[in-house]
Symmetry: D2
Subunit: 306 residues, 4 copies
């Protein structure tokens, strides 16, 4: 049975329209606060190489926490299981920027996708790669097959200026000996990775290797091994949507990763990836219309991992 | 490609043998503490009706928290979304019997599988069914197609005598108005449901409807709707192994539910169920050899939802 | 310099009048909820045997948590330092009925005045005394030199019926092995001790030994040793007003103990005791007008321990 | 009755000698880690101007958190009650450098003596005073009547280099909007105030105003008002010894303030101050022999506020 993805995402775009006014754009980064909250884009990429898009699917936006998947993929590849001495892999049950758990658990972040864990991953990445920042950009460009992807320096500078909570986390990690590089350097790379500008089309393309056992299905390049791809998907399932991971599993039923820029990417292993963007967020910090769009997507395609 | 499940589980049985001595049998219930820790059984049931067993797969053991899936399935069917006003669906990030989160979140348990949440589900079940205890037994017997399944009154009595922590949870829920029935009654049903004695073969049979979109593939009886089956699987994925849910997702990659009796059941949607029993537990309270057996199972069958 | 205590408490009575309408009577115990919130009484007892009263100072009310001082005095006298293996002596920084800290600290309550700690003290008292309930009543009658003091059975029954939070605490303590007697028995004595009916005059009389190094200044009976009296005062200072202990130290500057019945007793070592009653409570569960009355008392008498 | 303070402190010095080897010198600041752990000094200053000293009472050491009393006294004098919008006055029930409570309570520290609260006080001080650092030094010199008191630049630099935990706290406060000045500036002043080098004799002299209702009894200069002095004493009683405040009240019975340099100062209102120094700390971070010395002091002098 062939699924008409184009018809489905068009229909979804119409149906979520009333939701676009209900969320709130992230305001803590001035450069993000200016975004038009009514934007909506969606892209589906099958492992056979078909791309379906609608709305603002080609528009660049700030991928923010979605970038954590890219650094994790690289670091898992390099460090293997040694990584798990420094970061756990359980859901946190707490907001993404919480320091509480970090204190109770002596500076070992619960998982690589809460901010504390992502800072540790970035620290690992800096250890493993010279010129970490440009290496990361090159990797993302290669995954997305788009050489124009770049950091948004205004967003990065803006985060640096207002990122006291992340500075608190990084200093806290350092006090526990769980940052090797200097706080300033880790934050600099971290703020840059979060500032990467990509479109839904880019993101769906860049995540294809996770739907295809670690290998880019279009170039046949091995991005990571099959076990690692499976494990990154498991980690996204468990911890990819902060403290709304259960809600996402319950309503959508796919591993996914969200960012406060309003993007969410999900993976249907063996079949496809789907990326959605709508900048207005719900109270948990996830795209309000994006959550609904992905819920409708698995309903209309009758596909889920469960 | 046909998979030789029998060969695979036989091989697993051999390979986990050295692990049988490493865990610790639960001692807080005297009736459980007497179990021989070296027992090991495994059963695979495909939705085509093929059953593969090895070791002590026909041996009865105390299913304990695995029973929470049966009450949840019934209550979801009866109450629908109203259920979620009383219990959440996020991973707790805390031990299964923790009261901390319950206090911070004003008496609404994080999910239906931590003890506090399961007590609420049992309370709902009592509200919905007269003679709740026998109704529950009948339901489990029907799912497992085994009329001999029964409560272990010694285990139930033993839990009642020593279950001060659960009594604390139930009273705490009651103080928040989140138990409708009397504390004593809810605890009585709860301790009985946990005392149900079943074998790996029983459990793999009883969970088949969750691998088959809610319908028992052998009797064609609809146990629940397809959306509910998918959602129960999602909930097991998120919260089924207490604070080791991420570990289980990472290593095994299937939705599952464990009990302190040493049983774990997992579901491969559209294909099969697999149940394992080994009474010695790891520090998180899950079967130590059982976790490894299921990890090997998805490795050797190259099957996972991710 | 002789202080005109009568004039001072009369003046205070007038000044706190506007506050009587601002608090809220405790409603979780039906028998308490019926109290007229505008009652106000105050009594000062000097160690020279002078008693000054105003308003409803001879009216009986439910002393509730103030009773914890009586059980503690008895248990400290009997057990000595062994007591501190089972309960700490630090401020909790949490509400009086919190279970959170108890879980983090493995069932050892922070201090004898939070509910969990008081339950342990009552458990010790039962261990030490046969017929604990009547022994406690006799002790309080002797301290207050009033043979008419008694339990209010209606209040005790009412607490039993609605005391799920205390039942949760007692079961939780039991699960940690920090209750020796049966949960039901400890709760029964505890609910009775809290139901004791006394007046401000009674309470100021009964606390005199704490202002006089452990010896009743009027009968010359040694209630406890001088070191113990000093230590009970220190414990009241640290933990006597729940999570408002710092506020009370800052504003009043005397060791004291409050109850949700609206009573507060404070001790000026070497000089006097002062008891106040006004049933309407502030958000922390302490008598709103009572707090102000004691603040004015130390201001107008220019007396404080600091 | 005249008390022979000299004989008492000499006796105490002998009696605590065996304890000097039991604690551990703070090692997180390299400059402190080099201190000889067997040093011991003690000084008593009466409000009549008599000074009694023994051992290393004239030796300079790093006063660390004791400095928080000086900044607080200044800021209370300037800001009055407005201060309490930014910081509470309850015991924290948590370690002095905890971030947990700060997160649960939205960036308002529990009290002015935990590190987070002290950073807020320092921030206030910077707001109120130009050249905050030298103003603070001048104030301390005046209180102690010793123009040679100074910062220890090596200690200050050492704290800056390793003070990631304090940097985390300061950034965390900033993220909640509860620091007005730049993080770097607040930390710089804070690390300097903590580095102040003073002797027991200096400290006992400098705290005299708190034993004399706010007025320096020797110069008759009003350092703060009588109500403020009483309140600072109350705050020290409640929060001056971190999570050992209850222990200190129970064993010593005086308001006091400790520092990780091994100093403790206590106040007997209306009579005297007493300072002790012994660099080896107990597990709570307070001077092990110092705690005992003060306990013996109130025992032998039969003086306490309770």
């Amino acid at each position: 049975m062939s699924t008409d993805y184009q018809a489905i995402i068009n229909r979804i775009k119409d149906e979520v329209k009333p939701l676009l006014t209900q969320g709130k754009v992230a305001t803590y980064i001035p450069a993000l606060a200016r975004i038009n909250p009514y934007r909506f884009g969606m892209a589906v990429y099958t492992i056979n190489g078909e791309l379906f898009t609608c709305g603002d699917a080609q528009e660049y936006f700030s991928i923010q926490s979605i970038s954590k998947v890219f650094t994790l993929a690289r670091v898992m590849d390099r460090l293997g299981d040694a990584l798990w001495d420094r970061v756990g892999r359980e859901a946190s049950g707490n907001p993404f920027n919480s320091l509480v758990q970090l204190e109770y658990e002596n500076g070992k972040p619960r998982n690589p996708f809460i901010n504390a864990g992502a800072l540790v991953i970035t620290d690992c990445f800096i250890q493993e790669e010279q010129n970490a920042m440009s290496k990361l950009r090159d990797f993302v460009r290669a995954c997305a097959a788009n050489p124009n992807i770049d950091f948004d320096e205004e967003v990065a500078a803006s985060e640096k200026l207002t990122g006291h909570r992340n500075a608190a986390l990084a200093n806290f990690l350092k006090s526990y000996g769980n940052l090797i590089n200097e706080v300033e350097e880790v934050l600099d790379v971290y703020f840059h990775q979060c500032s990467l500008s990509m479109s839904c089309a880019d993101l769906s393309r860049a995540f294809l290797f996770l739907a295809n056992a670690g290998t880019d299905p279009l170039t046949c390049a091995a991005v990571c091994g099959p076990r690692q791809a499976k494990r990154i998907n498991a980690l996204m399932q468990t911890c990819g949507l902060y403290d709304e991971g259960g809600e996402f599993a319950y309503r959508v039923g796919l591993p996914g990763k969200s960012g406060v820029g309003g993007g969410i990417v999900a993976v249907m292993p063996g079949e496809l990836t789907v990326a959605v963007w709508s900048p207005a967020l719900n109270q948990a910090g996830n795209s309000l219309a994006g959550m609904k769009a992905l819920e409708l997507f698995t309903t209309y395609t009758a596909r889920s991992i469960f």
